[in-house]
């Protein structure tokens, strides 16, 4: 992605997309930890329709765009699917995230939406997310620096 396409139209579209995303999270109830916990405790299975409905829409969009469309109008970038490489961190990270989600009932996007409905106690969770993101970044930087000094391999 080029860094030059950051004009006001680009940011407006990002904002509008975020706005629709946020309306959706608020309607779906995911902005409320109680609703998520009811799902995880098998008391209300409605959340399946949130993730399922959203994934079907993005699935169709990705399939159509990668097959039939050329380049994104605002950046000139080609359309790609979201394919991340698999390693054990995917499973370790998913496990840690799962324990955190099950304890708090909130995930990052839903936490931002929760602020929007005036749920100020959710700032505890957002503060925690920043602390957690900082801790893993600090630790991984430290570890890669140590490894680099030892083997003298260049960082990516």
């Amino acid at each position: 992605m080029s860094g030059t396409g950051r004009n006001s139209l680009f940011l407006l579209v990002i904002y509008l997309g975020g706005l629709i995303f946020g309306v959706g999270l608020a309607i779906s109830g995911m902005a409320k930890p109680e609703v998520v916990l009811d799902f995880l405790q098998f008391e209300d299975f409605g959340l399946l329709f949130v993730m399922g409905g959203a994934a079907i829409v993005t699935g169709i969009t990705f399939a159509v765009a990668t097959r039939y469309l050329d380049r994104a109008p605002l950046t000139g970038d080609t359309y790609k699917r979201r394919l991340k490489s698999f390693d054990r961190n995917v499973v370790i990270g998913g496990s840690i995230f799962g324990v955190g989600w099950g304890l708090s009932g909130i995930c990052p996007g839903a936490a931002y939406a929760s602020v929007g409905i005036g749920n100020y106690p959710i700032l505890w969770a957002i503060a925690g997310m920043f602390i957690g993101a900082y801790a893993q970044g600090y630790w991984r930087t430290l570890r890669s620096t140590t490894a680099e000094t030892a083997t003298e391999t260049p960082s990516d």
Partner: protein
């Protein structure tokens, strides 16, 4: 198991109905699609945590090109999510809502979410919505993992008598 039995006794797997969940989910997908079709960007919510840390931290990982280069629009994306939820609150007349979940659950859970989503390369939106929408095996494995651990944790905490 208790929860499952009580669910069968209640007989209603969707006590709040299905429609708000479905409509909400479709809109989440639509928001991601608007951004994707216009810019080619596959939006995820948790990268915002690291890209925003690059404003205030000199730790090398947060100052990688991909974070510094995207931190501006990721901030705008998050501002959009916050204001979208506010728009819904105002239009629906639902009023301000606050959670009863205890602060320590939010804080400790939040820390684990922060570590886990960044280590695991994504969260509910990145892996759960966009990764699953891409039929990515990595994302499917990640989602299955976090669902199993989240269900186990929530049911354990409930069984220990913590509510809410």
């Amino acid at each position: 198991m208790n929860a499952f039995v009580s669910l069968l006794a209640l007989g209603d797997p969707f006590p709040r109905g299905v429609l708000p969940y479905l409509v909400g989910g479709l809109l989440v997908g639509l928001g991601a699609s608007v951004i994707y079709l216009s810019t080619g960007i596959i939006a995820g919510a948790s990268t915002f945590l690291e890209s925003t840390l690059s404003y205030v931290s000199s730790v090398e990982r947060f100052n990688r090109f991909k974070y510094v280069n995207s931190r501006g629009w990721r901030f705008v994306f998050t501002a959009g999510i916050v204001s979208g939820a506010t728009v819904y609150m105002l239009v629906s007349g639902s009023g301000v809502w606050t959670t009863d979940v205890q602060w320590w659950r939010l804080l400790v859970g939040g820390v684990l979410v922060g570590v886990g989503t960044r280590l695991g390369k994504g969260c509910t939106s990145g892996h759960g919505v966009c990764g699953v929408g891409s039929l990515s095996n990595t994302s499917l494995v990640n989602v299955a993992t976090f669902l199993v651990f989240a269900i186990g944790t929530a049911q354990l905490v409930q069984a220990l008598g913590v509510a809410p």
